[in-house]
Each structure stands twice: as C-alpha cells, then as structure tokens.
Symmetry: C2
Subunit: 333 residues, 2 copies
C-alpha cells in the first residue's frame, strides 16, 4: 500500500485533540509526507502546518487528502463529504480510517470514477485472513499494551522500533490500526477484521522471521480492562505471542475512555497480560513502562516515572520526552 504524497490533512471541525490523533500521528512520524492542513469553521484545533484549500494543496504538489479526524458516531457530516468531492475535483486522491467505506459516502464513488481518483480505506481489511493457529513463530516479538485506549501504545511502538534500530538491532514496527497503517504503509486495522480472525490477522502481519534475533514491535490496541474492546486486545495478544511487552499509561486519565469504568493499575495490566499471554507464549515477560506525560511538567514527569520504575522494578520512561534507551537495553539484555 502506498499513497500519493505529500498529504493535505483534513481535520474538519474536530472537537478535541484526541479526535485528530490520526492526523497528528502521521505528522509526528512522517513529517516529510505532510504538506498542509484543512479545517472547517468551528474548531480551534490545529496542527503545526499551513492551512490550504484542496486547490492550493494540489497546486503545491499534494497527492492525497487524508481524513485525519474521527467522525462522531461513525457518520460523516454532509459538509465534510462535499469537501472530499472538492478535493477530488482539485486533483487529490482520498484516504480515510473510518469503519464506513469512502465509496459508500454519497457521490464519492461516482466522483472518484469520473475523475480517476484512488480511494483508500485504511481501516477496512483489503484481504481475507485465516483463523489464528497459536503455534510458535520464529523471531522475537514485543507488544505494547495499555491501561486504556489512546494512551500512547502506537507512539511507544514506533519509538521502540527507532531505538532498537539505533542500537543496531533488526526491528520492524507492525501496525494494527489505521494510523499505524498510514505511517507504516502496511499492516491491518485489526478492530475492523471479522471477530473470528483477530488473532489470525496478527499472525499474518507479524509472520515468522528468518532472523532469530529480529524484533517485531507490534502496536497494541485497546485494553484488557476496557469493556468495549477487550476482545480485540486479547485476540491481538494471542496472535502477537509476544516475548516481551511494554505497558503504556496516561497518568492524568481517571476513567476508561468513553465508558464509566475506572482505570486498572499498571500492576493489574502486567498480571493480566502475563496470565492471558501465556496461552501462546509461556515465556512472556514485561520489559518496561511507557508514560504519556504530555500533561505534566518535566519535574512531575520525572518524579512519576521514578516512582513507577521503583514500584515495578522495570525501566520506565516517556518515550517521546525522554527516549527509550533503558527499555531497549532491557529488551536486548
């Protein structure tokens, strides 16, 4: 999978920063691919990019409008659909990461056909998967897991890929969500796979590796403690059969995202991940803790991390703020 670059990142009238995490993700990890943003009136959210219309972006060389915002309720508002058609008229392909297919939006398939544009649904599986087998595959695997959704599992995995490579190890980030797939240009959004094939899809995206010392760094999804998505998380854990896992956490979060449940502790996540992960890898063990401390001062962040490292006797860090050297050292030990 490869989209025409660079991108115009569409964020519509996003209500908050979490709503634009797909746009922010590709901008943070593939800044060279991102040319401009396009907003609608009514949002204060912005990326660190110039604002352009589709025509301005196309004139400046853009290849694809990427819908980088979550649409509430899974329904795309009519004005957004009109913007997408304008973008195709201006010469841009479209990519999006919703459960609903781009071609099912009114007028989009017809415009794409008439104008010869490509529609890419990053979240919709573009292949069939087998059911999981659960048998051991060659090579090593690290999975990021979380106390909740949206706590930094993808950023931690991407930082660990970079860190392992910088330390001379062979490593590949394996995307399991639409934003990861946008960044890696491969992988599968496992939350959109038919439920029977969750672990099978993960076995496909992290296949046996000829190099026994190669690390697949697999992006986690959801949380074993999230009542909406724990099934996805467990199927991912079984398919990933990780040798090591890193727990990701956002210290200011008080409730599981979107539901009433309280957050589990990091210790509960470690215990549950080992208990359930042993089914496909009896040697599963934690390798560290990655905190998203963006809401804390640097002093608060360091203090929080030190407490956790001591409490759990594991390397702890904010992967973006302080790097992942200690976790990489633990993984390669």
């Amino acid at each position: 999978m490869s989209l025409k670059k660079p991108y115009l990142l569409y964020i519509g009238d996003a209500p908050d920063r979490l709503a634009v995490k797909m746009a922010q993700g590709v901008l943070d990890w593939r800044p060279d691919w991102c040319l401009a943003q396009m907003r609608r009136g009514g949002t204060d959210i912005r990326l660190d990019l110039p604002e352009m219309t589709p025509q301005q972006a196309a004139d400046a060389g853009a290849g694809t409008l990427v819908v980088g915002v979550v649409n509430a309720g899974g329904v795309m508002p009519d004005p957004w659909v009109a913007d997408l058609i304008d973008a195709m008229e201006a010469g841009l392909d479209l990519a999006a990461g919703m459960h609903v297919r781009l071609r099912s939006l009114p007028g989009v398939a017809e415009a794409a056909e008439r104008l010869g544009r490509t529609l890419t649904d990053l979240r919709v599986p573009d292949r069939k998967f087998a059911t999981g087998k659960g048998t051991k595959r060659a090579g090593k695997r690290l999975l990021t897991v979380g106390t909740d959704c949206s706590v930094g599992k993808k950023y931690a995995a991407l930082a660990l890929e970079q860190g392992l490579r910088a330390a001379g190890a062979s490593a590949d980030f394996r995307a399991t969500g639409q934003t990861g797939r946008l960044i890696a240009e491969r992988g599968a959004a496992i939350d959109a796979v038919p439920a029977d094939f969750i672990s099978g899809a993960v076995e496909w995206l992290s296949p046996a590796n000829d190099d026994p010392d190669h690390w697949d760094v697999i992006e986690g999804q959801g949380s074993l403690f999230h009542p909406s998505f724990a099934g996805v998380t467990l199927g991912l854990l079984h398919g990933a059969q990780p040798d090591r896992f890193v727990v990701c956490h956002e210290p200011t979060r008080t409730n599981m995202r979107g539901v009433a449940n309280p957050l589990p502790t990091i210790g509960q996540v470690i215990d549950a991940t080992i208990l359930l992960g042993r089914l496909t890898n009896p040697d599963i063990a934690p390798a560290g803790i990655c905190m998203n401390t963006a809401a804390l001062s640097e002093d608060e962040a360091r203090a929080t991390i030190d407490v956790l490292a001591s409490e759990y006797q594991l390397p702890a860090t904010d992967p973006i703020r302080f790097g992942v050297d200690a976790i990489v050292a633990e993984v390669l030990r």
Copy 2:
C-alpha cells in the same frame, strides 16, 4: 428473520459429524421445520431424514435449502454451488452460515434475481452495531462458556431455556452463532461482526428487560483458552455481563479443536470466567456444569458427572441425556 419452511438440509460431502453441526442443530431443536436431507457422493454422514433432490423436496412442500455443513477453508466447491443453483431452479430459497456471502458465489446472485429467490446469510451481520458500553442492564443473564469450541454450549443454552420455562420462569435463548440464529430466527453471529463491535453486538442481542426476573440464556462461543477465538469469547463475556454461567465440556476431547493446545480444566475455565467477567458484572458466579457425554456409556456418563459435581460443588449434568433440573433449581434459588 423468518425463512420459508420446511427445509431441505444440504450436507454436501461432509467429512465428519462436527462438520454438519448446523444441520444437526436445527434438526434436533426444530424437527418440524426439517423435511429432508441432500448429500453428495463420498460422505457416510447422514441425518435422520429422508434423502431428496431439490425437485423432490420442492414437490413435497419445502421452502428453503439450508446449507448445513461447514466448508473446509471457507471456499465452497463448484459442485455444491451447482446444487444451490439447482435448488433455486426447483423453487427453493437459500440459507447458509458461512463467512462468505451466498451472493458472492459464481452464478448465485444472478439465479436468485432471475428466479425471485431469497438468499439469507445467517453468519453475516445484517445491521450495524454500536461499540459496547459495559453499563448494567435490567433483567438477569446466564451465559454458557466452554473448555473448547463445539462442546455443547448452544445445546446447553437451549436446554436451559426450556428448563427455565418449564419451571415457570421467563426465559429467552439468545443466539450468538449461525446455527443458533437458524433455530431462534433472531440474534447475530458475533464471530462475523467487526472486532470493535463484539461486546456491542451482544449488548444489542440481550437488551435491558423490563422484568427484573427475566433470564436471557446467552449462547457461548469459543473458549477463553482457545488461541484462535479467545477474543470473541472475551468480548461476548463482557457484552453478556452474565449473573450466572454454566461451563460446558466434552470429556473425551484431548486437544483444543483445530490447534495444538491442550484443554484447560473446568476449574481453570471457572476461575478465568470470574476474573474477566467481573469487569462488567462484579457478581458473576458459576451455576453448573454441562457435559456432552455422547461418547460415553450411561454408567460412565453418570460417574463422570458425579465426580465433577463433587469436585466443584456445582450441579453437573448432560443436558440432553439427563436434563437440566438441578441447574435450573440453582439458577432460580
């Protein structure tokens, strides 16, 4: 959902009895709906029904050919597809429970359109679901869980619906698979729902009930210990938020179906179900054990059941052979 009755049950060249469990299921629980079977050369498997061609079945009043066999690898052999088209030519509608849609088979959609026949895919979701909320719903719920796939969770749930009703309680079987849906004519095959919506689909199919003493008896799927399908099982457990659960087991099974993993013990299933089920129902508790003892003599069956009842201090039975009175009494206690 309602199919034209009675049915011609198609079992193709099924390799073994587990392959025809969909046909056997509707015959066991809805015998009045089943008129005849249709086989292909090469199988010794048969149902307790007369053999008919589609034309003979149509002449005898059949309304629908139901594909009652699992097709290896998810690909339907060409001769089977030819049989389906013959059946439509003879006047029959089609129903099937595969991941692949009937209309995607070569020539099937065209024949259905030309002849005015209805195609029903029992496994394919016919609606969109919301993500699970995890909040408590009114009414009571019982879930059947298992040491493995295909150990009798659906039969146990159907027997418990009957038993609860016979004891004067209000109870409804809630189907979560294609065979259950064929029997109940409602529900959803949750293993075919996009992974994000497993628990949400279960919340939909077992909604809040105005009667606080009403029991939804929810059909279990897979096993928390099956490396291919545990994600489905966990999402189902969280969506079902059961007050009570019944563990189903097949005592001659040595390996998890289709994979190399050993079977868990009933005690492991009880512990894991309570540990993980507490997330959406802190009061979850076991109510009994249902054994499929078809492979045992009656004496062996009684002895096996007595040992389990004593070991786990729970009512134990073979729901088909010995009834479910003891479990019903425990549930209504």
